[in-house]
């Protein structure tokens, strides 16, 4: 079969995914701090950020393509790393506040520096990442090593100059947005106005201005007066990519609410409500749990949104509230394992999902370090694996198949052999090219499509 390579990442023909790089420790003994908790490309795809359970952020930068070796596409190398959040203890509430980075979101670049928002359960921070490649030299009052000169020894004046130095990348916290969330923050989303952003916890959504840290506006509050009546929590929220007045939030009941901030200050009443109807007689104990939405993402076009629940990915047209326009089963074979998945808590795993640059393909993770891509235009899908065994340079990934039961064909893996501790919860797609970042428990894999 022929491989077609499109500039700008348009799909079509058969995409062949190849291993490019893997980051992280090889040994199986995974320290909890090393568990990757979020992955995000910036708006140009030049930078790739990861956050982990230990509160650290690592940023990779794409190197300029190696022209002499065309088969080696550009690589991502470490650009900056810093401790974003530290563990805290709230003595008043007897709450341990984890330093785990729940989300990273990049701001669009406005000047030489890069900015990102990183958040743990309680506090959002704005980090500035800047490059320093020059330093001043020739001070009048200081020696080269920083010691102050005796002013009496100075006989002439000179103008200090900037001389080149080895590139230094510095990360500094520019804003700390604290004390606005009683419950655990699950999402942050930068508005298309580039001035405001939202943060969402289990029961509330807050609106912030990037310059102002001492106050935020509460725009959604679903906390019942009597907590005994609590039946639904917020699971994710996102701003529309172009309409600065519009955002959505998803819930544990599988409902997505779209809100328009122009309608009222408090958006408790939704503008649109997206829910797929279900026959009540079809409900089981698991129905609500597996319908809980773990991620919601607008398409780049802003026309569609995608939701991920435990077993499927759904594409919704914003103009149609009563059902999704497309539904893709990620790992249908797990439906007959729900009992054990409930017992080992895997049924509560929160998988994320992402769009490719032109919204024609969507991707999400699964167990056994498998991840899946659904090509919407071609009506094709594939399941691939991120593993060290398939990590020779430019090695093409072989499609994987899971056998639900009965006769297992050669090369298929039985559902009972799946490793449920190897979960791919976080994936990201380069905004323009066919480059993807896939996080296993503690490793980051980068795959690219094969250059023709």
């Amino acid at each position: 079969c022929c491989t077609v390579f499109y500039l700008g990442g348009a799909p079509g023909g058969d995409m062949q995914w190849c291993f490019s790089q893997v980051k992280g420790a090889i040994d199986d003994d995974v320290a909890e701090a090393d568990i990757i908790s979020t992955v995000e490309f910036n708006h140009t795809g030049e930078l790739l950020a990861t956050g982990d359970k230990g509160g650290r952020v690592v940023i990779f930068q794409q190197e300029i393509e190696n022209k002499s070796l065309p088969q080696f596409r550009s690589e991502y190398n470490v650009y900056s790393t810093f401790q974003s959040h530290e563990p805290e203890f709230d003595y008043l509430k007897s709450l341990e506040i984890e330093e785990k980075i729940n989300k990273i979101r990049w701001l669009p670049q406005k000047n030489a520096a890069q900015f990102l928002l990183s958040t743990n359960d309680k506090t959002i921070k704005l980090w500035k990442i800047s490059e320093r490649d020059k330093r001043p030299d020739g001070y009048n009052l200081k020696e080269d090593d920083g010691r102050y000169k005796d002013p009496n020894s100075i006989t002439s004046l000179r103008v200090p100059v900037l001389i080149p130095m080895d590139l230094m990348v510095e990360a500094s916290p520019r804003r700390v947005f604290a004390n606005a969330h009683t419950y655990h923050i699950n999402s942050v989303s930068v508005n298309s106005d580039h001035e405001t952003y939202l943060s969402a916890d289990d029961l509330r959504v807050n609106l912030w201005h990037l310059e102002i840290t001492d106050r935020s506006f509460n725009i959604v509050d679903i906390k019942p007066t009597n907590m005994e009546e609590l039946t639904e929590v917020i699971t994710a929220a996102e701003f529309h990519p172009h309409q600065c007045n519009t955002f959505v939030y998803s819930s544990s009941k599988g409902i997505i609410r779209l809100c328009d901030m122009r309608e009222s200050a408090l958006c408790d009443r939704h503008t649109k409500l997206f829910e797929e109807p279900e026959d009540p007689s079809n409900r089981s104990f698991f129905s609500e749990i597996i319908s809980s939405i773990s991620d919601v993402k607008f398409s780049h076009s802003g026309r569609y949104m995608m939701t991920r629940d435990y077993l499927s990915v759904k594409i919704w047209d914003l103009n149609m509230e009563n059902r999704p326009v497309e539904t893709y089963q990620v790992h249908e074979y797990l439906r007959s394992k729900l009992c054990s998945l409930y017992e080992n808590d895997c049924i509560f795993d929160k998988f994320e999902c992402c769009w490719n640059g032109n919204d024609s393909v969507v991707m999400t993770g699964s167990y056994n370090n498998f991840f899946r891509m659904f090509d919407r235009s071609q009506r094709r899908d594939v399941m691939l694996e991120a593993s060290r065994e398939n990590s020779k340079p430019m090695q093409v990934l072989k499609p994987r198949k899971v056998c639900a039961g009965g006769k297992r064909k050669k090369d298929e893996i039985s559902v009972d052999s799946l490793d449920f501790n190897k979960k791919i919860l976080h994936t990201a797609w380069h905004p323009q090219d066919n480059i993807i970042a896939v996080a296993t428990t503690n490793n980051l894999y980068i795959f690219q499509d094969k250059v023709n």
């Binding site: 062949q16 289990d202 326009v325 594939v382």
Partner: protein, 115 residues
Amino acid sequence: MSGDKVKARTPEEAPADGTEVQETINVSLEKSEEAKLKARYPNLGHKPDMLRKRLQKGQKYFDSGDYNMAKANNKNKQLPTAAAPEKSEITGDHIPTPQDLPPRKPPLVASKLAG
């Protein structure tokens, strides 16, 4: 990309019989899994417990006084178990020994992704 053609269920195209059959199969699978679960745990609680547990994630008591205060405030509700390794021991009844204490968090080191 290589792979099988997948049935993306769109409202216009999907034949009514196909999806209905699939849904019936799904429902029966789920209900048989539910029966399995109820057989193992006859006193299975319901959704509010799950949500409340989720909201109370991170609850830790730093001494017995703290624990007893929280217990006094929540007389009617079920107190979520503290994150103690031995679930049968309750803070205040059990005097911790060095072996029982949860390990101290290791000092902050650089991420292995960066090295």
